[in-house]
């Protein structure tokens, strides 16, 4: 395709598109073909971009997401019109909720048929409008290079987010007659806050003065801006303890003595107790979401609230901060360090260390094999060095609690959206992006069955992804709620009839392992972790009726945390989910 003779031939829109993607350093495209996208797939023949053919478009979107979170580079998805496009909606929403850079290219029916209910026509531009950072419906072939350039700029600057580009088939088929593949962008309304206002940062610094019980709360923004080193310096200078959100895992090492681990609904007891008694809380790249605050009017009462975020719309959305700075978390923290003085926190740290000993995360072998134990063993066997992706539910919370994360980009989970079926394809994407790292997907039996068709994708590419299925034969988190708040009236949670996951893996040519007893866990996990000939599935059959604790019922503040299994009936939660 790249011989001189052919490159002298005029390009069509699709060829110009692929050339632009190559120029942006795109390594992979995850996609599934279809009529309206054929010109684009055709242009990929001979390109240095590797096309990864998936089995369902949702899988493609989560793979691009996992790749983006593992590498910091935007993931690219290519699908056809109609159902091909709508199958990516869950993946786009997931990326939008968690601020992940992603570019979704959708084929579209020819321009003259738009709005006429053509075969496989869907208004994907309209459908996805509320869940994208920005989107385009390209009308002119010559606009393609500008649109691609803008999309790459928008998706991964400021607060990242997905960009969708809808490409009618006639637009990609027509001859490109533009003069350049690197045109000027036309984005007069888009500005990216960077280092933050100096006065705002000085105000933040002033707030720290005299604080006796400071608490740093770090979120996904800290991970995205690679603020880890700066946060470490700030925490050690202030001698302030740190708690992280689910998506903030890794921005500050959870094994560090100043770390209290995750806070919130299923966070550690000591992190939540710190939230109750702190006199200052400074959020770095978190959005005080409802998993964290429970009830904004009872959150950190009496404490000064400081907020650092790149998105000005986060200021005052949930909580009114006492001081705030808008900009890149790393740059703001680096400046903030210069203006703060060490605090006297000895008493505070002593109190928290006591709480850590008093209320550790725990589990027992009393009833048999638990998910917590399997995850804890995985942490030990992998020495905490694996990139972990998860699905959504009980296993996700246990993974967050027991698989401590020490580095940015080593924890990939669907936080805001809570998308089941995310973990496995995200692990595939992460493995493509980080071929030298060990990638483990910790998934539930429910979520895994939503996207397991991608076993083919993993097998074909011999990716050494490890899938640990925590199988309790229930949609466990909902079962937990029904047990605790709905008189154990189980409804729509029983996954009776789960397949034999080892045999299922083998049917795809994937290695299968099984853990059924406590004594087996260590040996099987060790073997699986060292199996690198291709993907493997580790089927862990755990006790069916176990609950995640601590737990703060939805809509309640940390004051209402349940640490031990309750013996009395609980009120129905007032929060949404």
């Amino acid at each position: 395709m790249t011989t001189k003779k052919q490159s002298a031939k005029p390009m069509n829109g699709a060829e110009a598109l692929i050339r632009c993607l190559e120029n942006f350093g795109v390594e992979y495209i995850w996609g599934l073909s279809g009529g309206a996208a054929i010109p684009i797939f055709d242009a990929l023949v001979g390109s240095k971009i590797k096309l990864i053919l998936v089995r369902h478009e949702q899988g493609a979107s989560h793979m691009a997401d996992g790749y983006a979170r593992a590498t910091g580079k935007p993931g690219v998805v290519l699908v056809t019109s109609g159902p091909g496009a709508t199958n990516t909606v869950t993946g786009i929403m997931t990326a939008h909720m968690d601020s992940v850079p992603m570019i979704v290219l959708t084929g579209q029916t020819i321009s003259s048929m738009l709005g006429k209910d053509a075969f496989q026509e869907s208004d994907i531009f309209g459908i996805t409008m509320p869940i994208v950072k920005h989107s385009y419906l390209v009308k002119n072939t010559n606009d393609i290079p500008r649109v691609i350039k803008e999309a790459f700029y928008i998706t991964n600057t400021g607060r990242p987010g997905p960009v969708l580009i809808d490409l009618p088939k006639d637009v990609t088929s027509a001859t490109f007659t533009g003069t350049t593949l690197d045109p000027e962008m036309d984005l007069p309304g888009y500005t990216v806050p960077s280092k933050g206002n100096k006065n705002d940062i000085l105000k933040l610094a002033k707030m720290f003065k005299g604080a006796k019980k400071p608490l740093l709360l770090i979120g996904h923004g800290a991970v995205i801006s690679r603020a880890g080193k700066a946060i470490m310096e700030l925490a050690e200078k202030l001698k302030a303890p740190i708690t992280n959100t689910l998506l903030g895992k890794g921005a500050f090492p959870e094994t560090h003595p100043l770390s209290l681990g995750m806070l919130g609904m299923h966070g550690t007891a000591y992190a939540n107790k710190a939230v109750i008694s702190c006199d200052l809380i400074c959020s770095i790249g978190s959005r005080w979401d409802d998993r964290i605050n429970g009830n904004p009017s009872e959150f950190c009462i009496g404490a000064k609230k400081l907020h650092i975020d790149i998105d000005p719309a986060e200021m005052g959305k949930i909580l009114q901060p006492d001081a705030s700075a808008v900009g890149d978390a790393r740059l703001i923290v680096e400046e903030l360090i210069k203006h703060v003085e060490p605090l006297n926190t000895d008493e505070w740290l002593k109190e928290l260390n006591y709480l850590k000993k008093q209320y550790p995360l725990k589990y027992s072998h009393e009833k048999g094999l638990t998910a917590q134990y399997v995850i804890d063993e995985l942490f030990k066997v992998t020495k905490g060095k694996a990139i972990v992706t998860t699905d959504v539910g009980q296993h996700q919370m246990w993974a967050a609690q027991f698989y401590l994360t020490d580095q940015c980009d080593y924890w990939i989970t669907s936080g805001g959206a809570g998308t089941m079926g995310f973990g496995f394809p995200a692990a595939i994407g992460a493995q493509f992006g980080k071929p030298k790292d060990m990638v483990v997907a910790i998934v539930g039996d429910g979520g895994f069955q939503m996207t397991l068709a991608e076993l083919s994708t993993a097998a074909i590419h011999k990716l050494p992804v490890k899938v640990l299925i925590i199988d309790n034969k229930y949609l466990g988190m909902v079962r937990q709620w029904q047990e605790l708040f709905f008189d154990n009236r189980l409804s729509g949670v029983d996954l009776e009839g789960n397949p034999d996951f080892v045999k299922l893996a083998e049917a795809y040519g994937v290695k299968g392992f099984h853990i059924g007893k406590v004594e087996e866990a260590n040996a099987v996990l060790t073997e699986a972790v060292n199996y690198n000939a291709g993907p493997c599935v580790i089927h862990a059959e755990v006790i069916k009726e176990d609950n995640v604790f601590p737990m703060i019922p939805a809509g309640k503040s940390a004051y209402h945390m349940i640490i031990e299994p309750p013996k009395t009936k609980l009120e129905k939660p007032t929060g949404s989910t």
Binding site: F125, G126, M129, P130, K133, H134, S135, L137, I154, D186, L187, P188, G189, Y190, D311, P312, A313, M315, G316, K317
Partner: protein
């Protein structure tokens, strides 16, 4: 004017003006920001600006101030939105235009034409048994005339919604 402002605050009415890039979908994106947060748009005016690359929008909407603050911030975040601001009546000129169709005999027409004079209104069409009146003024002035015309047999009414321009050095 101060009195009007107080009135507007009481009813939680807000006037928001936006400058947007002339790109497809921008109106829908903005409408979604309002709708998602439970704000009904009472009136919406889109018009060209001096620079043909941009359009101006004036939106009148009802709701609490905290939610409006979010709406403004979320609208400002949209890639195609250049500028958003809320306008207090004392800081901006706010004007609306209305057309009224009133049915009635010639006697009525004469008395209408007398009574509308003090409302910056004029008759712009006279048919056999109806007239069309045009009025330009503040929302409150339009409300007042509307109430008066109802007594004479108002059968149809259409209002443009507010257009707003910041006073003096400020740009809208």
């Amino acid at each position: 004017m101060a009195k009007l402002s107080e009135n507007a605050t009481k009813r939680n009415i807000h006037t928001v003006s936006l400058v947007v890039a002339n790109k497809p979908g921008v109106l829908v994106r903005i409408a979604q920001v309002f709708a998602r947060r439970g704000f009904n748009i009472d009136s919406l005016v889109v018009s060209p600006t001096v620079d043909p690359k941009f359009s101006s929008m004036t939106i009148t909407s009802r709701g609490d101030a905290a939610t409006l603050d979010q709406i403004i911030k979320q609208s400002a975040k949209l890639i195609d939105v250049i500028h958003v601001s809320e306008h207090k009546p004392e800081e901006a000129m706010e004007v609306e235009l209305a057309l009224y169709k009133v049915k009635g005999k010639s006697v009525t027409k004469v008395s209408i034409s007398k009574s509308i004079k003090s409302y910056q209104a004029q008759i712009i069409d006279i048919a056999q048994d109806s007239i069309i009146i045009q009025q330009i003024g503040s929302t409150e002035e339009l409300d007042t005339l509307e109430a008066i015309l109802k007594k004479y047999g108002l059968v149809e009414m259409v209002r443009t919604g507010k257009v707003v321009m910041a006073r003096g050095k400020e740009s809208t």
